[in-house]
């Protein structure tokens, strides 16, 4: 369908604004991890477009009035909790809490725990995650409650590809399809990297699309998860696939460390912080658009 000049221009403006948000979130990520010399920058950088897309126009949510129950709202669960920096930055930049709080990441007394947790009542978090493989089951439970409550809302999850080596994921995959949990959109960060090396070398996932398909999911391939427009388009398409009797899976190809050249191309930056020099180098590649915290 041809777009009118006006529509296109509006769209482009939106996209360019969101791209600025991506750049700022990437700055937040490397600065947070650098400040405490710990944390996981690689996967965080690789999933930045996903988070920005999800929290800006996809999720039906209310950042100013967060509630644990999230009634009549869409819910998001981060199953691979170690990429907390991108989530915290996105939540802060979406208005869940003050951006200045990002400076407390992983420090004692902080609400921004190394891995997401509920104990400190950080708005936006509904379950602890970090020990891998658990988030899909939790999301299924929350999706069932949405159905029980008669809601027409959607539950989203994000998983690492290495995380799919956990058996519980496949227990949950089987259940969600068998019980027709069709108000669920899961996404795999398919970057083929995990902490010890490439996923293909560690314990290959084989034909991942065929696996999810065989488990009864509606599978959508996203070939460039670092292209914001593609991510938005795919998430919107996924929404159209809900309510049809099957859970929806997006296999989202990304580049670990995306946006910082020396962090890309290997698994090395899964879970190590940049030095002072490396931080300067990284920040030089990422425009400050919304103001650093």
């Amino acid at each position: 369908m041809p777009l009118t000049a006006t529509t296109l221009s509006t769209k482009m403006t939106d996209i360019s604004e969101l791209k600025k948000t991506c750049s700022q979130i990437r700055r937040d990520i490397v600065r947070m991890v650098h400040a405490v010399q710990s944390g996981h920058p690689g996967g965080s950088l690789g999933c930045t477009e996903y988070f920005v897309a999800l929290y800006n126009g996809i999720l039906h949510h209310d950042p100013q009035n967060f509630s644990m129950d999230g009634l009549e709202q869409d819910l998001f669960f981060l199953s691979n909790g170690h990429i907390s920096p991108v989530w915290y930055s996105t939540l802060a930049r979406s208005g869940y809490f003050e951006v200045s709080e990002l400076a407390t990441f992983r420090k004692i007394g902080s609400r921004l725990q190394g891995h997401p947790a509920t104990e400190e009542d950080l708005p936006g978090i509904r379950i602890a995650s970090g020990s891998l493989g658990q988030g899909l089951s939790v999301a299924i439970g929350a999706a069932l409650t949405k159905k029980q409550n008669g809601e027409d809302t959607i539950v989203y999850t994000l998983h690492g590809d290495g995380e799919l080596q956990e058996g519980q994921i496949w227990e949950a995959a089987m259940f969600a399809a068998a019980k027709g949990v069709d108000n669920l959109i899961s996404t795999v960060d398919y970057n083929n990297r995990q902490i010890d090396g490439d996923v293909d070398d560690i314990n290959s996932l084989g034909d991942l699309g065929a696996k999810w398909h065989a488990f009864g999911w509606d599978v959508i391939d996203l070939d460039n998860g670092n292209d914001l427009e593609s991510v938005i388009r795919t998430l919107k398409m996924a929404k159209e696939h809900t309510g049809k009797g099957k859970p929806v899976m997006i296999l989202m190809k990304t580049e670990m460390g995306c946006g910082v050249d020396f962090m890309m191309g290997s698994h090395a930056w899964h879970g190590i912080p940049p030095s002072d020099e490396q931080l300067e180098n990284a920040l030089g590649q990422l425009e400050e658009t919304l103001g650093d915290y």
Partner: protein, 323 residues
């Protein structure tokens, strides 16, 4: 009031299983609380959840043989106000899913009721693979977790009803065999409140679960020997009723604990900690001593592993010698 007079009030008209008490209460909860959800991992029959399933099919999830998934689903169901009751054997409710419970339920402080049947040696013939004797320890170590181990049908029913009204994660432990049903029908159940079943002066016997009835029997035998035993039913192991335990030991100056669990990590361990900190006193523990169980009839196993009435009597006599 003499010991003999007081203990005689406990009689059982009909032996019933504690799991049947759970099943009956779950059905009742289905009728009175629309937020109660039942889940099982292919053991709904054993847990006596089928009446709930048949009456409330839309509020029951058969997860299949996938306990880790069940625990995660239960955690998620609480988000939006549901009160999930998971039902499987105690072994599969704890050790098999410890990390799921730790992260998604206890640390996340979710309102999940982990209902665990076939605990301990009295599971019987299936043998040690299924006879978990470590579950109380595993669960009580988790912050935010409440641990309840009722003693008979009526009390399990009352406890099941009570935990639906309590907000927070709960581990509810019960068993397979038919056992004396001696506590009151429709009793009130207060989480964390020890129940004084028999006043005594010489020794305090703290028992939980199936061992409470045996403690009462031991009390009668001790009475014949001229020993006045106080019997306290600790249905809630965590939070422990410190006040009740200390008040009793203040009076008797010694304690015996009795449970169908490992000595390490069980009720005895909790009471020993309390007494060591607040009121050091001689103590004996009737529990399994660092062993796995084996196949056999429940009654045979309880004798072989030292969990019978006579073991409580002997422990009481031994602790009295140390006063």
């Amino acid at each position: 009031m003499t010991v003999a007079e007081s203990t005689i009030k406990f009689t059982s008209a009909e032996d019933k299983s504690t799991r049947a008490g759970f099943g009956a209460a779950l059905l009742e909860l289905g009728k009175i609380n629309p937020n109660v959800i039942g889940l099982t991992a292919d053991l709904g029959g054993s847990l006596q959840m089928n009446k709930f399933r048949d009456e409330f099919p839309d509020r029951f999830y058969q997860v299949g043989v996938a306990e880790a998934n069940m625990m995660g689903i239960a955690a998620g169901l609480t988000i939006g106000g549901k009160i999930p009751f998971t039902g499987t054997f105690a072994n599969f409710s704890t050790g098999r899913v410890y990390d799921q419970i730790r992260q998604s339920i206890a640390y996340s402080n979710k309102n999940v009721k982990i209902c665990a049947s076939h605990a301990g040696l009295t599971l019987g013939e299936d043998g040690a693979t299924h006879q978990i004797l470590e579950d109380i320890g595993l669960m009580k170590m988790l912050p935010n977790m409440t641990v309840i181990n009722p003693c008979d049908y009526n009390q399990t029913k009352a406890a099941t009803l009570a935990i639906a009204d309590y907000v927070g994660p709960v581990y509810l432990r019960f068993g397979r065999p038919n056992v004396p049903n001696f506590t009151e029908a429709d009793q009130p159940f207060e989480i964390g409140k020890a129940l004084l079943l028999n006043e005594g002066a010489d020794v305090s016997i703290f028992a939980t679960g199936h061992l409470v009835w045996k403690a009462l029997k031991a009390c009668e035998e001790l009475n014949v020997k001229g020993i006045s035993a106080e019997v306290i039913n600790i249905h809630t192991i965590k939070p422990l009723d410190d006040k009740a335990v200390l008040a009793s030991v203040q009076k008797t100056k010694c304690a015996v604990t009795a449970e169908e669990h490992q000595r390490h990590g069980g009720l005895g361990d909790s009471i020993a900690q309390l007494l060591a900190r607040k009121l050091p006193a001689p103590m004996e523990m009737v529990a399994v001593n660092d062993q796995f169980g084996e196949s056999g009839k429940p009654a045979e196993l309880m004798i072989k592993y030292g969990l019978d009435t006579s073991n409580i009597v002997t422990a009481a006599e031994q602790v009295l010698d140390r006063k």
